[in-house]
Amino acid sequence: MDEHLDNLVDTLLREEIGGEAAPDLAPAILARADRVRLRWTRVLITAAAAAIVVAVAIWQFAPGLRPGSKPTERGVTPQAVQPAPVVPEGGHEVWQRGSVVVAQGAPVSLQLGGYCSLELAANSQLRIEGEDRAEAIFLEQGEVRCRVERSVGTFQVRTEVGTVNVTGTEFVVAVLGKETDMLGKRLFVKVLTGAVLVSGLWGNVHLAAGQQATLPEGGKIAGILTGKAETWIAVKADGATEARRFTPMWKDGGLDKEMLATFKTLRVQNRVELEWKMIERPRVLWVRMIVPEQENGVVVGVVTAKEANWIEVKPDGGVPERYVPRWIRNPSGEGGSMDQDMLRKFAELKIGDTVRIEWNYLERKRAISLEKIAAVQ
C-alpha cells in the first residue's frame, strides 16, 4: 500500500479508536500573536519617537532642510506635491445633464441647481441627471456627501441598489461592494441633518438625523456550493464570478449546531439555495441542496468555468451547473478512479466552448458523455 495512504489510515485510526483529539491551541496562539504585535508596536513607537527627535533637530538646527524652503547652493529642496485636482469635462465647471464627474485622487465639489452642494469623495464617480428644481445624480461608484437647502426643490441620489430622496437635509451616500461580489452592491446612507427616504427592493426606509443604514442586509440566493469545511460553506451565486463564505448564526455560546450538521450533508459542486443575513459577516439562516428531479439528462451550454476535476456549464437562458466525471471501478472489482477519458476531455475544453453533455446524478451531476459543439471565438 502507498506509504501516504497508510499514514492517512493510521492517523484516522488514532482518532477513531485511540480517541486522540486535536488540542485547543487557540488561546496559546492568540497570546503569542498578541506578544508579537506588542513587540512590533514597541518597535514602531520607538522608531516614531526617533523620527520625531530627528525632525525636531532638523527644524532647530538645519533650517535650510525644512520643506518648502528656497533652494540652496547645494541642491534643490524637494517640494510638497499635492494631488492634482480633477478637471471636470470641458475644463470648466459647467454641469450638463448627462455629465459624468470622476473624482480620482482628490474629492470634487459641485453645486446643482443653486441649492444642492455635493462633495464627491476620491475614487468615486457620478452622473448628473434630473431637471430644474428636481436635481438628481446617479452615483455609479464610491461616496458622495450632499447638503440640500430646504424649500427650493427636491434632490435624489440614485444608485443601482436604491434611491435616496430628500427635500432639505445633509447626508452621505455610498455604494458598497464589487461587481463580482455575490452579495451584490449595497447602499450605505448616513443622515446628518433632516431626514431621507431610501427606496429599493426592500421597500421604503425612513432615516432621520443621526441614523444610518446599509441596505439590503440579507437576502436569498441560489448558486453553486464550491467548497465547505466544518464551520462554513462557500457559494458562488448565479451571476457572480466569485464565491462567498457563509457561517452559521451564533447560538447558545457557539455556532448553531443544527446548521453545522446541515453543512455536513451538503455535497460540493451541487446547486444550493439559501437565505443569509449580515451579522458581522454573512450568516446562513437556512440552506438546502437542489437535487435534480430527473436522475439523468442532456444539457447543451457554454463552459463558464473549469478545473481539473469539474466543468461548469450554463445553458442558454438557464443557470450554471457543475459536472464531474464518473467513478469507474477497476476490472478486478477492487478500487477505482475517476473516468480518465472524461478528465482528458475536460482538460481540452476552453472557457466559452459550447458543449453537449449527457449526465446522470449520483450525489453530483456526472458527465457520461461530452461533445464539443463549438469552440470559443
Partner: protein, 166 residues
C-alpha cells in the same frame, strides 16, 4: 477575526501534521507556527486550508532539517505527494466527512482478530512487543500485520466510496 481563523482550521491542521509524521508535541508546535506565519499575511482572515497546509509543510521541512532527520522525512517531493493523497483521497468531498464515515463502517466489518489488534495498538496503546506477546507474533510480524489491516481498511473505504459514486 483571527480567533475564528484558528478555530476553523486548527483541528484539520493538527490532523494533517500528525499525518505528515509529526509526534503530538511537534504537531502542536507546527500548528502554532503555521498560524503565526499566516497572521503576518495580507488577508489572514480569508486564508484557505490548502494555503495553510502549504505553510505547515514548510514548517515541517524546516523542523526536520534542523533536527537532521532522515532525508526522506525532509523531502519536498514526498510531502507534495502526501498533499496530493490528502487532497484527492481524504478531502474528495471537501472536508473528509465521507472518508471518515466509510472508515467507521469498514471498522465495524473487520474480523475479530483484526479488531483485537486495532484495539491493542490504538485504544490500549500497547507496545509492539506487548502486542507480539499477546497475539503470539514476532515484533516484525506485528508491524506487517498492522500494515495489512490498514491496507484492508483503505481498500474497504475505497470500495464503499466507489459504490456510493465517489
Amino acid at each position: 477575526m483571527l480567533e475564528t481563523l484558528v478555530r476553523t482550521h486548527q483541528a484539520e491542521l493538527y490532523r494533517y501534521a500528525r499525518y505528515l509524521g509529526a509526534e503530538r508535541a511537534t504537531a502542536e508546535d507546527l500548528v502554532q507556527e503555521t498560524f503565526l506565519a499566516a497572521f503576518r499575511a495580507e488577508d489572514p482572515e480569508h486564508a484557505a486550508a490548502p494555503w495553510l497546509r502549504g505553510i505547515l509543510r514548510n514548517q515541517f521541512l524546516n523542523w526536520c532539517r534542523r533536527r537532521r532527520l532522515a532525508p526522506q522525512s525532509a523531502d519536498p517531493a514526498a510531502l507534495s505527494q502526501a498533499e496530493s493523497v490528502w487532497q484527492d483521497v481524504f478531502l474528495r468531498d471537501g472536508d473528509g466527512f465521507d472518508y471518515l464515515q466509510a472508515l467507521r463502517k469498514c471498522l465495524a466489518d473487520q474480523p475479530e482478530k483484526h479488531r483485537q489488534a486495532l484495539d491493542l495498538q490504538y485504544a490500549q496503546k500497547k507496545s509492539r512487543a506487548e502486542i507480539a506477546r499477546l497475539l503470539s507474533l514476532t515484533e516484525d510480524g506485528v508491524k506487517s500485520f498492522m500494515r495489512r489491516i490498514r491496507a484492508r481498511l483503505a481498500e474497504c473505504v475505497g470500495k464503499r466510496l466507489a459504490a456510493e459514486g465517489g
